[in-house]
Amino acid sequence: MDVLLQILASGLTLGAVYAISTVGLALVFGAMNMLNMSHGALMALGGYMAWFMVTGFGLPPVAGMLAAVLVCAAVGVLIYLLIAKPMLQSEGFETRIFIATIGFGAMLESVILMAFGPQPKPQPLAVQGGFSLAGVHLPIQNLLILVLSMLLMAALALLLQKSRIGRAIRATAQNRDAARLMGVRIGVVYALVLGISGGLAAISGITVSSLSSLLPNMGGDPMLKAFIICVVAGLGRVPGSVIAALFIGLFEAVVQYTIGVRFSFALLLLLVIVVLIWKPQGVFGRQQGVRL
């Protein structure tokens, strides 16, 4: 029983971390057909900004987190204005923006390295301590991440489904030209989507670094997992990405315990291959239609 609970706790923690990493990526692809490969660097920026605000400026943790979210959201908007917007109308936008954001991510990582140095740093936005449940020790930080993840997903779902902005985003995702003809300001929507994605990347960076540490390249691994989850769920499927993230977190924890830690990533990739053969659009994907 205690082993099952431990696996469940580990799996849900991993899944929650993956979910926050993934939705930002899925949101941008769903709205813009854009794979933002600088998402990992944005995560690192968010983690470092929170650290800097708390340890450098002495801000309270919540204020530090909000400041990091705002900075990363602003960088997200800048990505739209400086990189995505100029090439939006060009042929092969998806390929061009894929490569351009790889470059931007590398630059951002280098800036972080120069600004904060290469030594790993502890994330101050982490809650120490835990409690025992049925013989299993559960860290409070892990539970906080799980709760935060659920709250964020619910807020994002509400934003997309119930708000005027959300309707504009969904309309743009379904048919950009039709949305423009209906009076939706496409540029504002895209900037907003990248801003929201940047803010989510900041929160993701803070949660990831609270379980490991701050390093300039810390976003690389979560970004890879987020990309895999997006593919499994179906690129651009926001609700599906959350379910896929939690499933993959549990899948990894079960494989790590029962077969061995070293097999978890290999089996995850095998799972992706099976999914893509079975459903090339991803588990929740459709050839056409509503994505967000």
Partner: protein, 435 residues
């Protein structure tokens, strides 16, 4: 570089007069300051990506050595001029391209590196083709095998630290010394080995696994983890189901190891925890906090806590900051001094293509017994890798000490607990075992 070091100040350090500084100073004779044509030397180091924390220290170590050597007249009056290339994730192809750029662009006489964990034999081939000298700290048993395969071709390649396999055999000897001497009574004779994928970590783990039974240990878990890893839950569950007397972690990323300790300490087993290299980096203690106290770790190359080592640490931190990693910086620092002293004694170093001169330098390096901040460097014949003490020799004056340290207070530097005669304190039972 902008950091001025004077000859008089260098010569005042009595500890250094016993070592390479005295050799270099004597060879340089009347040359008070290096002022001739610069000698370009190079370093290919992981200045970005996951090993950048060490890569920056390798660069700092070489810069500091160059400044000190130049203050003593450089090499026969020619100042050293260091150049750097980034090896990022340290793949063999990236490493050899970086070294080739150093040779082609700057015409370096020597490449003086810390480690590049992904290196195979490609760099040694590029060095052999250029006929220059290569000093590195890859800590790889593959280096000795390569040199042994063709000593004539690889005359200029030296590994200035012992190979990784000494970690494994040294650990088993260390455990025996603890248990036989009654310093530590393990809960049982089970060993759990946790390693990361990759030759380096696997080689160490395999030596422990293969030698365990002979010394009365049973390997109860042999678990390979993917890196980076932050969620240790499933691995810890296995450890808690069958608690071993000793947990051996041969993975070496400081942040991952710190998370292991944080998560282990939520529900610890009565196991001695040994880790490899990672806890020597200060950020391990920063991240793990109080959970770091009690951890035992070892390194086959690090600054000793003696007169020379502490002097080096003080000068290094005065120059690069309190958080600077002198144990990483010492790798290239020590190697640069060995090469510079040998080159001065050989009558100068050679540029690419001047193989005959560099063969004379290599001869000097092979014949040298060098005492630096990390102890003795003496190259084993046929392998051109540093001998390890006490694993490879029982004479501390002939081998580089395989140092065992323990974090006894997470707010202070780790304490050197072995080997004799360098140890500064005894082993103490970790707090989670004391209860």
């Amino acid at each position: 570089m902008g950091h001025r070091i004077h000859r008089r100040g260098m010569l005042k350090g009595s500890a250094w007069l016993a070592g390479a500084a005295a050799v270099l100073s004597g060879a340089n004779a009347a040359r008070a300051e290096a002022s001739g044509e610069p000698v370009p030397i190079g370093q290919a180091a992981p200045l970005t990506d996951f090993a950048a924390a060490d890569g920056v220290e390798f660069r700092n170590g070489l810069i500091m050595a160059c400044d000190e050597i130049n203050a003593l007249g450089g090499i026969l009056g020619r100042p050293l001029e260091p150049h750097f290339e980034d090896t990022k994730q340290m793949g063999d192809a990236t490493n050899v391209q970086a070294v080739q750029r150093l040779i082609d662009r700057y015409g370096v006489h020597a490449v003086i590196n810390g480690y590049n964990t992904g290196s195979g034999s490609a760099v040694q081939d590029a060095i052999a083709d250029a006929g220059i000298i290569y000093m590195h700290n890859d800590t790889s048993s593959g280096h000795g095998v390569l040199i042994g395969s063709d000593p004539e071709r690889y005359f200029g390649s030296f590994q200035t630290d012992p190979s990784e396999t000494w970690y494994g055999s040294g650990l088993l000897k260390f455990l025996s010394s603890l248990t036989d001497g009654g310093t530590f009574a393990p809960a049982n004779r089970k060993l759990a080995i946790i390693l990361s994928a990759g030759t380096y970590s696997s080689n160490i783990a395999n030596v422990v696994r293969e030698g365990a039974a002979e010394l009365g240990w049973e390997v109860s878990l042999y678990e390979t983890v993917n890196v980076p890893i932050s969620e240790w839950g499933p691995t810890l569950s296995k450890l808690r189901q069958d608690p071993p007397g000793v947990i051996v972690v041969t993975h070496y990323f400081p942040a991952d190891l710190a998370q292991f300790m944080v998560q282990f300490m939520t529900n610890p087993t009565p196991s001695l925890i040994y880790m490899q290299y990672g806890p020597s980096v200060k950020s391990f203690r920063d991240i793990a906090g109080p959970a770091a106290a009690g951890v035992v770790f070892s390194t086959v190359i690090g600054a000793l806590q003696d007169e020379i080592g502490l002097d080096f640490e003080a000068r290094y931190k005065a120059r690069f900051g309190d958080d600077a990693g002198h144990n990483s910086g010492v790798q290239s620092y020590n190697a640069a001094w060995i090469w510079a002293a040998a080159a001065a004694l050989a009558g100068g170093s050679g540029a690419p293509g001047e193989e005959e001169q560099n063969r004379k330098v290599a001869e000097r390096i092979r014949a040298m017994i060098h005492r630096g901040p990390n102890g003795t460097t003496r190259f084993m014949p046929g392998e051109q890798a540093a001998a390890s003490y006490p694993g490879g020799t029982d004479d501390p004056s002939l081998g580089m000490p395989h140092q065992f340290l323990q974090i006894q207070d997470h707010t202070a530097e780790p304490v050197l607990i072995a080997p004799w005669p360098y140890a500064k304190a005894g082993f103490i039972t970790p707090p989670w075992i004391r209860g």
